[in-house]
Amino acid sequence: MAVRDDVVNTIAAFSLFADLTGPQLEQVAHLFDEAFFGEGERIMRQGVSGSGFYIILEGSAAVRVNGVDRSALKAGDYFGEISCLLGEVPVADIVAATPLRCLLLPASQLEGFLTAHPKVMYRLLQGEARKLKNTTKWLS
């Protein structure tokens, strides 16, 4: 299968990009880099600067804080947005639980991308609201 087509078809099914047109999806596939991580490899490292915004294309990953797995991520999920938005180091490791294919956008490009695609920004906000709700529920 042609590689770009494969990425466009994959992200077309993700809720984050549900409002984008075909050419816009193709633009996303061009703008983001693709990265691959072997099982057990770290994608983001707690306390290490310079990470980016990742969207999982295939595979699953663990969110690990101080060596303890806290939650799991799967295709269509994204991570790294909090450290990108706040300009701070990640507070968790993200570790590939299986071979993992991701799209990656550097932190410096996230603001430009989101403001150029307000619908994606809104979907991202919904995702953040969901995370906050789950955390609040867990704390209470």
């Binding site: 991580f37 490899e41 306390g47």
Partner: protein, 489 residues
Amino acid sequence: MGSGPGGLQLSYSLSRLGIDHAVLSDDPAPGGMFRRWPVFQRMLSWTKPFTGVQRTAREYERYDWNSLIPDDDAHRAIMPGLMDGTSYFPSRPEMQKGLEAFAERTGIRVRYDCHWESTRQDKGHHDFVLTTSDGEYRAPVVVFAVGVAQPYWPPIPGLDEVAHYGDCRSVESYKDHRVFIVGKQNSGFEIATGLLPWARQLVLASPSATKLSVNTRTLVGVRARYVQPYEDAALTGGVIILDTTIEEVRRDGAGFVVRTRNATDGRELPMVADDVIAATGFIAPLGDLPALGVATFGQSRLPAQTPFWESATVPGIFFAGTITQGAGGLKKHGIPSNSGAVQGYRYNARVLARHLAESRFDVRIPRPQLEAAETVRYLLNELSHGPELWQQRSYLARVVHLDRDRGISDEGILPLAHFIDSGGPDAVAVALESNGQGDPYPAVYLRKNGLVGEHLLPPHPLIDFTGTDYQRQLGEILDPVLSPSPSPA
């Protein structure tokens, strides 16, 4: 497998460590893709002849991106001696000559004109067997340095009918033509630059906006040498740069109609052209390796690799040369390593040779010992002058073990991702880093009791980190490990 710069460098470094190996190559002589490309005959990597640094010194490698790297001074800096002085970017024939000279002077032996046909792994003792036009080769470890030079056409209807970058004709044949170039990276802009004095109209199109290396302050983006078409477009000289998808390429009489669509507003714009050229990149020619289980990713179908350039999915299969860009490392701030270019991957090959020697062939490479008092100065000197750190930022690091009982030992150059993720004794790794905005700055990773902490030092306007300020700051970072533990009262 392969006799481009990556294969030659690895063979040299393995030989120096006494590791028995064979080098096979499809080509008739050394040079890899530089025997054919770039199309317009000059490299994108420079070799500065006059720098104030002795050419025989290791520090000179910072300025000479094209020579392969020997362990001794005698074979260092071959390229500046071969260049005619008209440009600090060597011509393609000069680059080829440089690689041939290195292979000849250092005695690298290659079986040329040997075609790799298929690969299998023996179930019994896990050896790999390469079937070639010269018979079978068997080895416990195989390294593929086969480049990323197989033309790639994206799945756009009709595009497979058009010429690829490598099929460009002589420039005269484009005289007064309307030329449509699919792709806005260096290869597209290289062709556009070459055709500026010949073509009537040049259109460059791809979905995302062009990046320029002078803005990203990295090798990401179109290099300054090829920016002229960009200026032509900006000053409305006739070059057109479109941020569009290409929906279809259709033959129309002797020429083509290219249907483009603006990604932002969806507007369709058909373009008429006499010639269409696909500057759409290349893929790694991995033969049957994917069938053996080698996972690939991305448009270039690079093999997924560990920090030591081993297939992430088939242990024992390694990679060298430009293909090692598939081992992404930390990619801090989204900036890739320079593993795609000679000045980066020549160091990967040397690190790989050491790794293979120690992990597969029971060779123990001696570690120079350092005194505690000199460690800070040594690390700062490496940060200021070490070519490995300069060329492979946030990717390769100088690693020093800080063991109170066994002493302080220089572990050499290692992949930074390996250092951070592998655990081990108390140690420090230093790397030079860039964030795509200001000057590069030193990054210090201190491993203490198995945990790694990151410490970033400020940049210096002259990129010299040897001063007392840096000595104090690095001293304070290392102090918890270097200072003697208090004796029990």
